[in-house]
Amino acid sequence: MNAGEISVEGVSRRFRIHAREARTLKDLFVQRGQTQATDVWALHDVSLGVERGQAVGLIGRNGSGKTTLLRLIAGIIKPTAGQVRTEGRIGSLLELGAGFHLDFTGRENVFLNGAIQGLRRADIKERFDEIVAFAELEHAIDRPVRTYSSGMTMRLGFAIAAFLEADILLLDEVFAVGDEAFQRKCFGRIFAFKQNGGTIVFVSHDASAVERLCERSVFLDVGRVAFDGPTREAVTRYRRALADDANPAERGAGLREWGSGEATIASAELIGKEGSDRLQFLSGEPFALRVSVAAPDGVPPPRLQLELRDDAGSLLAGHAVDLRGLGWAGGNGQTSVRFEIGELPLADGRFHLRLGLTDESGEHVYHWLDDALQFVVYPGGDERGVVRFEGRWMLEENSATR
């Protein structure tokens, strides 16, 4: 195995649940034979291989075994049956600030927590300033953690783990960190970890967070792998399962889609500079949109409408293209078109793409997808806001000194 690989083979894990919260010797001796212990199989014959550099999401309902699987991969617990193998250093962010000692200062806790995560003191010393700067705690690092707000504690916990330089990073619901700007910063850091070839296993209830980070996801249902494949499909199945639980009538209500249906958008994806399908970009990166359109014989080549909106739904940019103008005469059923942007002019935030197919007048709607794609842009440098400035600074003739 190479560093960064994870192999989970036929793993099952049983937990013995006792009727009472904590067992005592008294129970053991006094009520012998009456202690009601029930066996619960948290995982059942789970197999999963993760390659180096892959980001895999684990999604599923409460009690589906996500966290158990993560703890097994971390080596905190052992499988009852089967085998878990990992290669390389594992950084686990199962809980931010786990093991912080409240009476100690932030500085002391950085060293203690780093040591617990397996870092050498010298390594921590080397990265100390970066950690503190990332956590934005320069002013408070020598105060006891007791005096920190919960946001500060979590920021510090995240910063320590983020600078671990692990081969594998395990994340469990850790993005409730601080304000939204800090959350994006965390995401950016983790995204950069992935870009540098790090392996990630990410557990979340929040399907959109998984979509942002992972191309592949595993949907766990009552301890079994219900689906393992592209995140979008895993999330769809997960949402469907959730909807089945709540109220069958709600199913599909989230899909804002309409149109007459003569021509349809078969698929749409965003493509990064390496040519693969993804949903996260760094500001200024090459960016491309690929849309597959299906229009049977007899339907004239439609016009493709494109709208970029922010989280609040405000229109940021709109654009339309006539497929006939691109040279598609229609009639042969299906085609793919591609829209390329050399440097993504967005800075920071979450964005939504609406796609529509209309006739050439734009009046008749064949197919409209309200939220066809969601993607996230992380600042690559010091960009702030929504839009990336494109431009160059230069010194003009300096007349004052003359």
């Binding site: 937990f15 904590a22 067992r23 005592t24 010797l25 008294k26 129970d27 053991l28 703890r71 971390a74 080596g75 905190i76 617990i77 052992k78 594992i90 686990s92 199962l94 809980e95 786990a98 093991g99 000692h101 009476d103 100690f104 002391e108 060293f111 203690l112 040591a115 617990i116 995560q117 397996g118 050498r120 003191r121």
Partner: protein, 266 residues
């Protein structure tokens, strides 16, 4: 025996935990490490006052009773405080144990380590007092250190076992606490086994006090070299060595067998 090998492999982490525990123990206290001396000192003064001044029961042939007492107390204090503190240690670090992978035996062992520091300080003081008060002990006094090291092994093994059991059965710490007081009186610290008036009538009781209570032989051996200036008894020494090995083995076996359950049940 990887339970102990990991202490060396993860010595940096052990060092960090040890520093944390030491600092947590003495943090902000005026006397700092002096507390570890104050505790046995106060104990000793109280016992001295009650048994030597008021009651006059436990005269040990001379008026050095205070030194006699002081030769037995450090070992007892070490055993009692280390095993009690480590019994709770895993639960106190539950948050860490559930969320991070690291050799969990370092948690109770680090507690034993911090108490070992107090023990070493106390033993050092007793050695100095012995050199000053007992001229005939000058050639044997250094033996207190290897004996102390063996005793520390007994404590470490016992503490590991208690810590693991308490994570699985929450009343172990209370049971231990309840046992410690009678255990103290059943260990020859306040008195010497040879000088108990009742032992002639009840040889079985004397045998049990000496050989069933695994604290007696090491304490007797330490007192022989510190107080009487004798070589430690061969039987006591052998018993101490064997007890150290067994305690370490039992501690390691109990801990590694319950290791996985510790992660889920703390």
């Amino acid at each position: 025996m990887s339970v102990y090998v990991d202490v060396i492999r993860y010595r940096e982490l052990f060092g960090s935990l040890f520093r944390r525990d030491i600092r947590a123990k003495y943090r902000g206290s005026f006397l700092g490490l002096g507390w570890s001396l104050l505790h046995p000192l106060v104990l000793m003064l109280v016992y001295l006052f009650v048994f030597s001044v008021l009651w006059r029961v436990a005269e040990v042939g001379s008026d050095d009773y205070w030194l006699f007492l002081l030769c037995g107390l450090p070992a007892w204090v070490f055993f009692a405080t280390a095993s009690q503190a480590s019994s709770r240690s895993l639960l106190e670090n539950a948050n860490l144990i559930r969320k991070v992978r690291f050799p969990r035996q370092l948690v109770p062992l680090s507690i034993v380590g911090t108490n070992l520091v107090s023990f070493a300080v106390m033993l050092g003081v007793v050695v100095v007092l012995s050199l000053w008060q007992v001229p005939e002990a000058r050639s044997t006094v250094w033996l207190a250190f290897p004996l102390g090291a063996l005793f520390a092994c007994i404590v470490a093994g016992f503490a590991l076992m208690v810590a693991a059991l308490n994570a699985l059965y929450r009343d172990v710490e209370h049971l231990l606490q309840a046992l410690l007081l009678p255990w103290f009186f059943l260990t020859p610290i306040l008195y010497s086994l040879e000088q108990l008036p009742g032992v002639d009538d009840y040889p079985a009781a004397e045998f049990a006090l000496h050989w069933v209570n695994f604290l007696t032989p090491p304490i007797e051996a330490m007192r022989a070299v510190l107080f009487y200036g004798d070589a430690p008894g061969a039987a006591d020494t052998l018993y101490t060595v064997v007890a150290a090995v067994i305690a370490l083995a039992v501690g390691a076996i109990v801990f590694s067998r319950s290791d996985d359950r510790i992660a889920t049940e703390v």
